[in-house]
Structure formats: structure tokens, C-alpha cells
């Protein structure tokens, strides 16, 4: 084991960490990518060679200090190299969401003033060319995948590999300059700029310094004992702060290996082949996998199903306790061991979770059943709470203190306080420098003492010191009768049902709560197949009376559970409808990180909301949709509205 923590005073930039890794663990793998069906790997030494060649190429193209270099593409080693190469030149890498449509991209490119753009493939290049006349300052476009690029005008365009080749041939010219630029980097130079997905308004460019990233990486790597030899799978958008922290910050700090999938569609196969030891996924990935397992078990033979049910019952009983190191009887331990051989081990292998030491989920609330399922298998799945402005980490759960309804204790080096109105504030070494070209927003988010408002309402639990988050502070409201309105709380309960993909609850300043529901096509489609329900489209399935019956059952169950909490009893859903289309980021209804944009949904579907409140039992609607290539279309539907039984309204009436 190589000592990785020694003299940190000189390690003030990602390129400096790279140099250290080359010196200490140069022959160990830094990146792997599956290409042409085989995992290709690059050691830290090879990675350094690639990045330097790219950096020299950037210099020869005229990259200046402080330039912004946009990177648009899926997770591939070359794209990560481009980010570090940009840092070497004193420029700022700006990774963008690759599924953004051209218009969204135009805003960000214009805002950061990027002169150089690195594109993953032809699709991204086409988008850049489409907006080129609106974003004047674009000077040079580089692309990674040559496919289909031959016929393009290359006077201001080049393949990354060619940029490297040219630079390698003429390396004497720029080597001195590159060494000088790397030496200029210090702890306060900008490491990366990331655009927030923006639940409200235009995206904001969050400037994170080397200090933010490296301090956070150092603290959190220590918290979870991450080390070189660990493996991660880089599959989440490069524009998301989490990917930057995991695949760059922590990877360069500890020297672990970043594995890139072959294509987004092969992610599950690649996950299984790599078997990461450190893994992050939003709740929907875990949900999706669990749904898959359950669907396949439905179709399994009787013996297998019986065995699965028996051992899963046992695992739910004792699995989490064994994982947390709590006392469990010898007999149960033996039975759990047997279950591990027969069920848990093979299942974990199928899921690609055989080697996981640390797994995290965040971003949305995770259903307790889902969370417990993975924990009971012996997978150390934990929760964290964070945001871009904090370089991810605000709170996280220490090993052995893991629960589904809290988000853990403050991360090392982070201070957290709760304001009078319940809003959570934090201050940490990872706290962002500023919003790019937006001092007003910076000032309104971060006060003079460095405290940042998260916009979330929450409280510390008595006794454990764990933080619990209720909802977005601005979404928490009052109903007409004065009851507390916390939509997210109810939506999460609804979304814990595998059949419900998304839910949006309304009711602020109104007399009762109502909801839109999105069904999960995979889960409901499978259910329909097993019950001989024929359907031709998502829309038809969503409007099927038996699907309505099923969803009504879920809504009423949620009402019963909401009613149990006197503070939130007013949030029971009285009426609901199932939407005829999936809420989609392309239509602006969700953010790119799949969070509901409430105000947009409220204005777009205003007539549906009115219908929920005026007592009608069906409504005709036409909705505009945007296709992947940016074209628009409309879908028409007549939606049914159902009433759901609510609990305890009589007692409330009587009390009034």
C-alpha cells in the first residue's frame, strides 16, 4: 500500500495531484473504457502523457489563461482528460449536459463565453454548429469520435487525437509555456465551473476552486476510507457536480480507477463486469434494478421463487443488523450465511454489487423498502445530502448509522445550522466561490460569513444528531385552512410505489390537495401483460380504468399513512389524474437531473389543475411535446379524474 496522504501543501491543483500519482502509482490503472467489446485501460503514467499532449495542443490553438473550455459528451476518458488539460493551460473546464437541446446549450455557451468546445461526437458538433451564429465567440470545435465527421468544414474544427498528434510533433515549442502555466495554479484558482440544472429560472454557473474540490475530496475520502485500488463506474452526467467530485476530485486524490461504460445502453452490463467498490446512483437507478429483479422473480420457477422469498424475509430481519455490526444470534448468522451462498451472493453478482464497500444515493428521497432491500443483502448503501454549491457534501451517513429517513451527520469540515423558518444553512471548505457573472445571486445565496442557504427545510433529530429534510423551503406552504402543505413529502410517498414514476401534488393556499401521477411504463406494462390488459401506447395504458383502480389504491394507502402524522394530515390527496405523457426534461417539465419544475407544470397544465378543483370527472386536453431532435408535436387526450378516499376528514370538520 502506497502512502497517499503525505505532503499535501504542494498539492494545490488537479494537475499537481496527477503528477503525484504518476510518481507514486504510475503503473496502476487510472482509466478504463470498454471499446470494441474489450476493456482498454490507461495507467496514471499513460494518462499523464495523454493529458499533456492535449494541453500542448490547446496551447497551440491559442487557449489563454481564464478561457472557458466547454466539454459536451458522455463519460469517456478523453473528455476527463480534456478537463484536466484545460486546467493545465490555466483555463476553466465547463462540462455541459450532453442531452441538452441546442437552445439550452446556447444560453450556457454564451454566458461563459467559451471560445473552445470539446464535443463527444457528431451529434454534439451538430448542435454547436446550429447555434454558432447566435454564440459569436466560438473559435474552435474539437471532437472525440471521428464517425461521420469527414465531410465537415475543418477550417475551425479538429479531432482530439489530431490535436494531440500535432502537439506531440511540435512539443518543444509549447513545453516551456505549459510548465509555467501549471506552476501558476494555486489553491484559489478555479478548478471547474458547473451549471446548476436550475429548478427555477436560468442555469447559474457555479465557480469551484481547487481548494473547494481538493479539500472536499480529501475530507470525504478519509470519511469512507477510499484508496487507490477502489473502482468507480463513471456513468452519471459529466456536468453534474457529483461526477466531478467522484471521477476527478476523489479519483485524483486517492488514485482510484475510473471506469467508463461502452455506451449508455450497456451501463448495466458494464456495471456487472467491473463490479465497482465505490458506487453512487440516484434512487431511481436502485428502484429500476429492484423492479427488474422483482419482475424476473415473478417469472422464475416455483422452487427458486420460494427460496428467494424465504431468504429475503430472513435478510430483511437480520441483514441490516449484521451490516451495522449489531449483535445477531449465532443461528441467524448461520442461516444468513447459507442465504448468502444461495441467494444474496448470486443476486449481488447479477446486479454488479458483489464488491461494493461504499454505496451512496442522494438527490431524491429513497423508498424505505428499496433502501432496506439493498442493505439487507449486505450492500453498504448510505445516503448523503449535498448540492453543487457545496461541492456535493453537506451531510452523509457514517458506517453503522444508516437509516432511510435521515441524510446523516455533517461531513468532515462542514458546519450546518437551521434557521428559524427551518431552512438549512451550511459553511464548509467546499463552499463555492461565486456564481459566474452574477454577483446578486451570489450575495443572496452566500452571506458575508460564508453561510449558504440550501433552500431546503429540515431539522436535526433529537438524540442521533442526524439531519432530516422535509421539502424545498419555498415549496412548503399553507393550505386554505391553515394546515401545513409539504408536497414533496406526499410525492415521495407516492413515488415509493414501483408503479408510480413521478407525482406532482398541488394544494398550496387551496382547500384540498390534488395530484398528477405518471405511471412507470415498465412496471405497469409488466403488470398489464400478466393481467391480460392490452394496450397500444403509453397514453392508452395510462388511461386504462384498471390502471386507475390500481393507482387509486396506492393513493388511498398513502392518504392513510399521511393521516397518521397530525402535522401533515391536511396533505391527503382528494382527487388525482394520471397524465397522458411522461414528464420530460425536453419539454422543460423536469430539470436535467429529473427534478420536478413546479411552476412550469402549474402553468403548462393549468386547465388540468382547474379540472381537479372544479369537480369534473374528465377533461380533454392538448399538450405540446418536444422530440429529441427539437421538433414540436402535440398529443391529444381525454383524461379521467378520480376521487380518492381520505382519512379523518370528519374529525377535522367536527373540530372546525
Amino acid at each position: 500500500m502506497v502512502e497517499m496522504t503525505a505532503p499535501s501543501d504542494a498539492l494545490h491543483s488537479i494537475p499537481a495531484l496527477l503528477a503525484r500519482n504518476v510518481a507514486r502509482i504510475g503503473a496502476l490503472p487510472a482509466y478504463r473504457e470498454k471499446e470494441f467489446g474489450i476493456w482498454q485501460s490507461w495507467t496514471w503514467a499513460q494518462t499523464d502523457d495523454q493529458i499533456r499532449a492535449l494541453a500542448l495542443g490547446f496551447l497551440s490553438l491559442g487557449v489563454e489563461r481564464g478561457d472557458h473550455i466547454a466539454i459536451i459528451g458522455r463519460n469517456r476518458p478523453a473528455h476527463y482528460w480534456a478537463m484536466v488539460a484545460a486546467q493545465m493551460c490555466g483555463a476553466v473546464p465547463v462540462p455541459l449536459y450532453q442531452d441538452a437541446v441546442a437552445d439550452e446549450m446556447a444560453y450556457v455557451l454564451d454566458h461563459c463565453g467559451a471560445r473552445f468546445i470539446v464535443c463527444g461526437d457528431q451529434e454534439q458538433v451538430d448542435k454547436v454548429l446550429e447555434i454558432e451564429d447566435r454564440v459569436q465567440h466560438i473559435q474552435h470545435v474539437m471532437y472525440n469520435d471521428r464517425r461521420g465527421m469527414r465531410k465537415y468544414d475543418h477550417s475551425r474544427m479538429n479531432a482530439l487525437a489530431d490535436v494531440q498528434a500535432e502537439a506531440r510533433a511540435g512539443h518543444f515549442r509549447y513545453e516551456g509555456e505549459l510548465t509555467k502555466r501549471i506552476a501558476e495554479l494555486d489553491y484559489d484558482s478555479t478548478c471547474v465551473m458547473l451549471y446548476t440544472s436550475g429548478t427555477t429560472g436560468k442555469p447559474k454557473g457555479v465557480v469551484l476552486s481547487n481548494r473547494n474540490i481538493i479539500e472536499t475530496a480529501k475530507n470525504t475520502s478519509g470519511f469512507d476510507h477510499l484508496r487507490h485500488g477502489d473502482e468507480v463506474l463513471a456513468y452519471l452526467p459529466m456536468a453534474w457536480v457529483g461526477d466531478f467530485i467522484f471521477s476527478v476530485g476523489q479519483a485524483y486524490w486517492t488514485g482510484f480507477t475510473v471506469n467508463c461504460p461502452e455506451s449508455p445502453a450497456t451501463m448495466m452490463t458494464d456495471l456487472r463486469e467491473i463490479g465497482p467498490t465505490y458506487f453512487f446512483a440516484p434512487p431511481r437507478v436502485f428502484e429500476g434494478q429492484l423492479t427488474n429483479v422483482m419482475i424476473r422473480m415473478e417469472d422464475a420457477g416455483r422452487l427458486k421463487k420460494k427460496m428467494f422469498d424465504h431468504f429475503m424475509a430472513l435478510a430483511r430481519q437480520v441483514g441490516p443488523a449484521i451490516l451495522d455490526g449489531k449483535p445477531v444470534s449465532m443461528m441467524d448468522r448461520l442461516r444468513y450465511g447459507l442465504g448468502n451462498i444461495l441467494v444474496y451472493g448470486p443476486l449481488k453478482n447479477t446486479l454488479g454489487f458483489s464488491r461494493i464497500r461504499v454505496g451512496y444515493t442522494a438527490g431524491e428521497a429513497i423508498g424505505p423498502e428499496i433502501f432496506d432491500f439493498y442493505r439487507s443483502l449486505g450492500i453498504n448503501l448510505k445516503q448523503l445530502y449535498g448540492q453543487t454549491e457545496a461541492s456535493v457534501f453537506i451531510t452523509q451517513q457514517p458506517d453503522g448509522q444508516v437509516r432511510s429517513d435521515t441524510v446523516g451527520v455533517p461531513s468532515p469540515g462542514v458546519e450546518v445550522k437551521i434557521a428559524e423558518n427551518g431552512e438549512v444553512f451550511y459553511r464548509s471548505p467546499g463552499t463555492f466561490v461565486e456564481y459566474f457573472k452574477n454577483p446578486e445571486s451570489t450575495a443572496s445565496t452566500k452571506d458575508a460569513e460564508g453561510w449558504v442557504a440550501t433552500g431546503d427545510a429540515g431539522f436535526f433529530e433529537d438524540g442521533t444528531g442526524h439531519l432530516r429534510i422535509i421539502d424545498r423551503a419555498k415549496d412548503v406552504g399553507k393550505m386554505a385552512d391553515g394546515h401545513l402543505f409539504a408536497p414533496k413529502y406526499v410525492e415521495n410517498k407516492l413515488k415509493f410505489y414501483p408503479n408510480i414514476l413521478e407525482a406532482v401534488v398541488f394544494g398550496n393556499a387551496r382547500t384540498m390537495c390534488t395530484a398528477f401521477v405518471n405511471i412507470d411504463l415498465q412496471a405497469v406494462g409488466n403488470w398489464a401483460e400478466r393481467n391480460n390488459i392490452a394496450y397500444a401506447s403509453y397514453q392508452e395504458l395510462a388511461g386504462h380504468p384498471r390502471v386507475y383502480d390500481m393507482i387509486q389504491g396506492h393513493v388511498e394507502e398513502v392518504n392513510r399513512s399521511v393521516a397518521a402524522d397530525p402535522m401533515l394530515a391536511g396533505c391527503q390527496v382528494h382527487r388525482f389524474l394520471i397524465l397522458h405523457k411522461e414528464l420530460d426534461a425536453d419539454d422543460g417539465e423536469l430539470t436535467r437531473t429529473r427534478k420536478v419544475r413546479r411552476n412550469i407544470i402549474e402553468s403548462k397544465f393549468a386547465e388540468l389543475i382547474d379540472a381537479l378543483y372544479d369537480g369534473r370527472d374528465s377533461i380533454y386536453t392538448e399538450t405540446e411535446v418536444t422530440y429529441e431532435d427539437g421538433r414540436k408535436g402535440a398529443i391529444k387526450a381525454t383524461l379521467t379524474i378520480r376521487d380518492a378516499a381520505v382519512q379523518g376528514t370528519q374529525t377535522r370538520m367536527a373540530a372546525e
Binding site: 471499446e35 470494441f36 467489446g37 474489450i38 464517425r147 465531410k151 455506451s263
Partner: protein, 276 residues
């Protein structure tokens, strides 16, 4: 030497700047009869190196018969087929493949029980040199050879973006993907000329667009000459460099998409004529 013959040997440059070579395959006065039925009547045309050539026509015009003549499956009753400057005689299917001609079928002809990868590997059968015994033992040169072939196949899998279904049995795939796998298998044979029998039939708009892009990319990246039959006029006109139009076994038009579109006979065959 007149302009016509100059074009034949020296080729031409397309509107989008691609260089098209000389004549690769030439049909001379082809007639094909099945007993009393004449499927093709005295048709002549050529296919040039590197071009995308389409054969269109209403149902029963004789397009598939023509493709079968090109592929060597049918021997024309009269007329000659010249390929790479030689007159072609009757051939066995493996000889066709060895000549560098590969095709896909209108109603997909893949091995349903085999994986996508194995199906594509069969496309390289004629390129394998080691004997059946050595392959069965999977030892020495056979092993090395298979690795080399697998590498080529992986390039094609990457090219057609079907990595995610590499190990999936073909029988479980949806129609659009099967078509793509069939194209992959045809490409695996590294053909000089690729014959596509209605590659877009039965596809939705998105699948059609994908398929168009793949056909253009194949032509562009590998320089493969492509001859295709297609019903969708929009697709044909966008995709091809030159078009042959057939009707009732006869050739009624031949030229660039614009020329063909303006041809009164073609308009009559497709849209009908007003009788006054």
C-alpha cells in the same frame, strides 16, 4: 470519346462532393423469364464504384428479381452481367460472397436462436482460412484467426451502435434492430458491393432515419458501393446518387433523383395520368 464513355471510365463527382469511380457492375440487356412470365424485359444499367444506386418501382415491377440477378441468385434468360470488367457466369452462393457481394433480405434471414455477435460472425465465414477441424479444436492459428475476425466484427458492432445487444439472441430483438443486425452481418463480409432489399420496410420514422444515417455512413467510411431497393420515395431521393425506375419489368427511367422526379413516364407510373 464522348461524354458518356468518359463518365463510364473516369466517374463523376456528386453534388455533396464525393468522388464516384468507374463502372463496377454493368447489366447488359437483361431479360428474365419464368416460363411464360417475363419478369424483366431488356434492361441495361450500370453501378459505379462508390455510389449509392437505387432501384425503385411500383409493386410487381421486377425490382427484387433484378436484385436477385445482380446477386447472382437468378441467371438471366438473356443478357450479360459484367462485374469488375469480367463477364459473370452462373455461380454458387459462396462464390458470390467471395466475389465481394453481400446482401440483406426483405424478410430478415437471421439465425433466431444465435446471439447478435454469432450471427455477425457468420458473415465472416468466407474470409476464414483455417479448416473446420482446427476451428473445432480452437487451437493455434484457428484461435488467432478468430480473435482477428472478432476484432473486425466488434468494429462493425461499434459502428452500428448495437453494443448493448451483443449477447442477445436475435429472436428476442424488435424488428428495427434485426434489420440493423442483418446489415451488420452483410458488412462483416467486407463486401465490395452491398445489396439492400427494402432496408426501411416496416420501420417507423425514427428507425428509418437511423437506417439512412447508417447507409450513408457505410458508404462514406468503408467506401462500399450500395445498391438498394426501396419503396419510400423520400428516403430514395435523399439517399441515392442515381436511380433506376422500373415498371412492369421495363426500365422507364434512369438518372439522378432530380432527373427521375421530372421524368413524365415515372410520374405516370407512380401517380397515374389524366385521361382526357
Amino acid at each position: 470519346m464522348n461524354a458518356e464513355t468518359a463518365m463510364k471510365t473516369e466517374g463523376y463527382t456528386t453534388a455533396d462532393g464525393r468522388k464516384i469511380g468507374g463502372v463496377l457492375m454493368e447489366m447488359k440487356n437483361i431479360t428474365l423469364r419464368f416460363g411464360g412470365v417475363t419478369a424483366i424485359k431488356d434492361i441495361s444499367f450500370d453501378i459505379r464504384d462508390g455510389e449509392i444506386r437505387a432501384i425503385i418501382g411500383p409493386n410487381g415491377a421486377g425490382k427484387s428479381s433484378m436484385l436477385n440477378v445482380i446477386s447472382g441468385f437468378y441467371v438471366p434468360t438473356e443478357g450479360e452481367v459484367w462485374f469488375k470488367g469480367f463477364r459473370r457466369g452462373p455461380m454458387k452462393p459462396y462464390q458470390v460472397a467471395q466475389l465481394g457481394i453481400a446482401r440483406t433480405f426483405q424478410n430478415i434471414a437471421l439465425f433466431d436462436g444465435m446471439t447478435v455477435l454469432d450471427n455477425i460472425m457468420t458473415g465472416r465465414l468466407t474470409l476464414m482460412k483455417t479448416g473446420i477441424l482446427a476451428q473445432a479444436m480452437w487451437w493455434g492459428s484457428a484461435q488467432r484467426e478468430e480473435s482477428a475476425h472478432r476484432e473486425k466484427v466488434e468494429k462493425i458492432i461499434d459502428f452500428l451502435e448495437i453494443q448493448a445487444i451483443r449477447k442477445t439472441p436475435v429472436g428476442r430483438l424488435p424488428y428495427g434492430l434485426k434489420k440493423r443486425v442483418e446489415l451488420a452481418r452483410a458488412l462483416a463480409a467486407e463486401p465490395k458491393i452491398l445489396l439492400l432489399d427494402e432496408p426501411m420496410a416496416g420501420m417507423n420514422v425514427e428507425e428509418k432515419e437511423d437506417m439512412c444515417r447508417f447507409i450513408l455512413d457505410v458508404n462514406d467510411e468503408f467506401g462500399t458501393t450500395i445498391c438498394l431497393i426501396e419503396h419510400d420515395m423520400g428516403v430514395v431521393m435523399d439517399l441515392s446518387d442515381r436511380v433506376v425506375v422500373m415498371d412492369y419489368g421495363k426500365k422507364i427511367g434512369d438518372g439522378t433523383p432530380d432527373e427521375v422526379r421530372a421524368n413524365p413516364e415515372v410520374i405516370a407510373a407512380y401517380l397515374g395520368v389524366a385521361h382526357d
